[in-house]
Amino acid sequence: MSSVAVAVKVSAGPDTVMGVRGELRVGADFGGRKASPSVAEITGSSLTGTAGHVLTTGGKHAVRAVYTNTTDRPTRLSAVTAQFGEKRVIAPTRGATVQPGESLPVDVPIPGTAKDGTDYRVRFVTVGDAVHRITGTVSVPSVDAITRAGPLAQIDGAPPAASVGKAPGLSADVTLAWSQEALVVDVCVADDVQRQTFTGQNIWQGDSVQVALAPGFPGETVSAGAEYGAALTSSGAESVVFRTMDGSPGTRTAATSTVTRDDSANRTRYRMSLPWAELAPIAADQRLLSVSVLVNDDDGGGRSFLAWGGGISHAKDSGQYNAVTLAD
């Protein structure tokens, strides 16, 4: 079989929307007869612009659109507009000038009409330059469907964010807290039998905790995000990363955990510290994220579990995680 290679250049035009799937079709014509075309799905991503759901310092829901000047000269950002369904919102930029390599975040308020799964489009308009478009989805759950993570300094004695399980042999309280360095997940498990015979990536088969995290609120990303685990193994408290934020199998992690067992009280406490530096694109200043917790239990008859949220034990699905905000 003989072949030749041809390079096809593909570049975004003024109407290209980042994050939207399209098709690239390549065909060939031989004397008026056509070869079967090759069709591939393509999606654009841009260093020039990113956008994601955040809570502003005033506690309002917004899309934070970040413009990065990828050119070699100063660029003036004349406007940022966003379309949420039928509603158009304009965020003031006051003609801000962005130096080469620098970024300018602009918070675009999410209108009250935006509910679960509202698609939005953000436009960056730069003077004398192209219009940059990106797209995304926002979900704004009701207040009572959002779990609050308080400051780390207040975690001891704070009421649990959630309690799962009612059986006398297994139940758990989940408490979330945060600092500028990490998200802290505290799980206090009431378990009559503490049993963990595995280590490393296999700890999920014994008594352990799994925590999954994704950017934005549930349903805003197709990514399942990252997944961590902690257990009291034969060598002591062990932290593992099952999956990193880019979907790769985990190897090393900067996450730490303490796990203590009180046999007289039949309680095991897991406290996991998950550094933001390892959770990008999640960042503390976004003040929101999606979290799910699984408590694994094996009393010798095989693994069972309790879940706060879903998306861990069966399909890996961040749409089933819990909406969490970082509160002062």
Binding site: K9, R21, E41
Partner: protein, 104 residues
Amino acid sequence: MHGAQVVTGKSALRPVKSTRSSLTLTPAQRVVVAQHYGDAARAGSKAQGYRLSGDGANTVDVQLYNLNDVPMTGSLHADADNGWRTAIAQPQVTIPRCRRWPWP
């Protein structure tokens, strides 16, 4: 055969019937066009499509395979939706004839 498994009753597998296709491919249809993407573009492509940069030109390698025993000369064309622009520096191509495997 391993073990003592005994199969009784009707097999779920149906016998394969030999069929003869009457489809005749044109010489142009015996040219296969295939797009190839690098590792960075392929990451997450099953869920989201091949990832291209919106900040500059992307190069997609297109391979044309000739299954004919004569050289094929023609032209390549590309188009995309969502506002993507395409360009081919040298759309005219000649693909050498398919070389038969030199059986002894």
